[in-house]
Symmetry: C2
């Protein structure tokens, strides 16, 4: 992975390699999350966790996984954020929740990256309150990895739902943050960045998109990325681009449409294989190849939306994540922690904000 | 199919069963389009066409298909709209194009529905100039059929790109037009209509969506449809809803994301089957089942965006449509022609516009 800005990480030195885990969020309860930690540690034995939630429940769950206790510090938090809780309510009264405690450990410098399977709106709200926005960032964004035809296997798309609006300034910041994420998270030296639109001609789309187009283009050379201009929905799983920039409304619809379509095709494929005795036999023969395919497009493997634009990094795992999904989110958090991503992103945004000031 | 409004069709009586075909648009040239007509006639021998374009070329192409000449009247048009032509330019100077001639035959009442594979923007522009918007309609929309888990096999989504903006009035009109299309095109008596958003809670999303939500809800009972409220991207290929209403920017991104994802999964599946000798054998065994799947999700089978909100119906086929795709678009045009869709839609919009006037 290339150095993003040359800035030295400035996090608390003891925090290196420590992840902060909200163990009470998620549809499958703390057991699935602890199982995910055990799975993640097998791949990266250097991982250390601060695990937030009901101490008795968590200690017992951790004790059932041989060796896992050596990697964990449990921090008691009596309350839990429910999936139906309103973000505004959690932001006012959620200080005793496992979610708040988990984000706060990044704020205090005890951990580098926080992982939670909880309520997205509440997690973004708590993250905004605890970590605050980076100087120069108006709207933080949620970035996801999308299975694609690219050699890395993925594209980055943002925002997928932190905010339903984005003005040209926001889209420019998304381009810079997404580019930094692609560089540090996917190891792409010179990411290709595209702006999502309904056509690729420069005169297409809403006026805020045309303005963002021209201003991102001006930033590309100085910030070490290539701007490919407007891209379309079909490019999201394609190989023309590494980073797709859009507002959170459009990004969220695209994400859910893509997931829904992939699931639909997968279910239709299952039906096709169950249709006749011959096709059932074929399914057996092709089992290992189909498993590879299934793995390639399995949303659990790319589990983890990353909140960008805050003083600290938060990974949002799917609420429905099982141990494989949790391990994927934890693995992503680990990679971002190791690369010093939070500090690199901070420096990148600061440098670009200065440049933007110059050009305006 | 149920009667939509009880209004009698008012089109030119000789036009019944006559489709107007722009035979010069499309990436594969007039031969592919004429081949598509020949294919469509096999299913519906009552079809009659007015075929617009270069008379010498078209007469020769038609003569090569045994029996097809009996179904066709060729109308000479010397010019062709190119895929790269600007809509505004075509609207000013395109009177001698095959596209203009084809749309004009609907305006003059010689044909009921027009089909073109040409440039979408130009086709919408020419359609607006020739046919004019229906009274009460501010922004016409493009509606498409989307493969879904519903018994009919499809959902209707609109707008997918006629306009990049939609205010609450437009979204309400889209709901009514989409509902009428689902009733006449898919034969669904009481379509379920949903409004695309980033969550299903009533307090979610942009203010114009919340306003449209409440106003569509008020119209549902009197207009014979069910309003399911907000739906998400994952519902587009789902079975919760028959008609998905959204603005043309979001709809276009969703459409292309869905197509791109389906294509990506299909290609990965092909790779999986080519991976090992065993999986190659499996592919042979499962051939017929996979072909059925492939047909179910083949975009060519649902080829045809329908322009709604004009005085007459225009079907836009994919530019890259081959004969199968052209035949599908022509088949769709035929069904809409037979159901008297243009007149039913006109009456539906007129009745609802009167109701809207009452409730405002």
């Amino acid at each position: 992975m290339s150095d993003d800005t040359g800035a030295a990480p400035i996090a608390h030195p003891d925090a290196a390699g420590v992840l902060s885990i909200d163990a009470m969020g998620g549809d499958h309860g703390p057991d699935a999350i602890v199982a995910g930690l055990a799975l993640a540690v097998k791949t990266n034995p250097a991982m250390r966790f601060i695990v937030h939630g009901d101490e008795a429940v968590l200690s017992a769950a951790i004790a059932r996984r041989p060796g896992l206790a050596d990697h964990c510090t449990v921090r008691h938090a009596p309350d839990v954020v429910a999936m139906t809780d309103k973000p505004s309510q959690v932001m006012r009264t959620g200080k005793n929740t496992s979610m708040w405690s988990a984000v706060d450990a990044v704020h205090s410098g005890e951990a580098t990256v926080c992982v939670s399977c909880g309520n997205t709106g509440a997690l973004m709200g708590v993250s905004m309150v605890c970590l605050r926005k980076l100087p120069g960032i108006n709207r933080p964004a949620i970035a996801i990895l999308w299975p694609s035809r690219n050699p890395s296997g993925f594209n980055v798309m943002l925002d997928v739902g932190a905010d339903i609006r984005a003005d040209p300034d926001d889209l420019i910041q998304y381009a810079l943050m997404g580019m930094s994420y692609a560089r540090n998270g996917l190891g792409i030296d010179r990411p290709r960045v595209g702006l999502l639109n309904v056509g690729t001609e420069e005169n297409k789309g809403r006026s805020e998109l045309r303005e963002a187009h021209d201003r991102i283009e001006m930033l590309a050379a100085d910030n070490g990325f290539e701007f490919v201009g407007f891209v379309e929905g079909g490019d999201i799983p394609g190989d023309r681009v590494d980073v797709i920039v859009t507002d959170g409304f459009t990004g969220n619809v695209a994400l859910k449409t893509g997931e829904g379509t992939a699931l639909f095709v997968r279910d239709m494929l299952g039906e096709a294989f169950r249709a006749t005795p011959l096709s059932k036999m074929a399914a057996l023969l092709a089992m290992s190849s189909l498993k590879r395919l299934s793995k390639r497009i399995d949303p659990r493997r790319v589990n983890g939306g990353v909140f960008l634009g805050l003083n600290g990094t938060v990974v949002k795992s799917h609420g429905s994540a099982d141990e494989t999904g949790v391990a994927a989110a934890v693995g992503l958090a680990w990679n971002l922690s190791k690369s010093g991503f939070s500090d690199r992103l901070r420096a990148r945004v600061a440098a670009a904000t200065a440049t933007l000031g110059d050009t305006e």
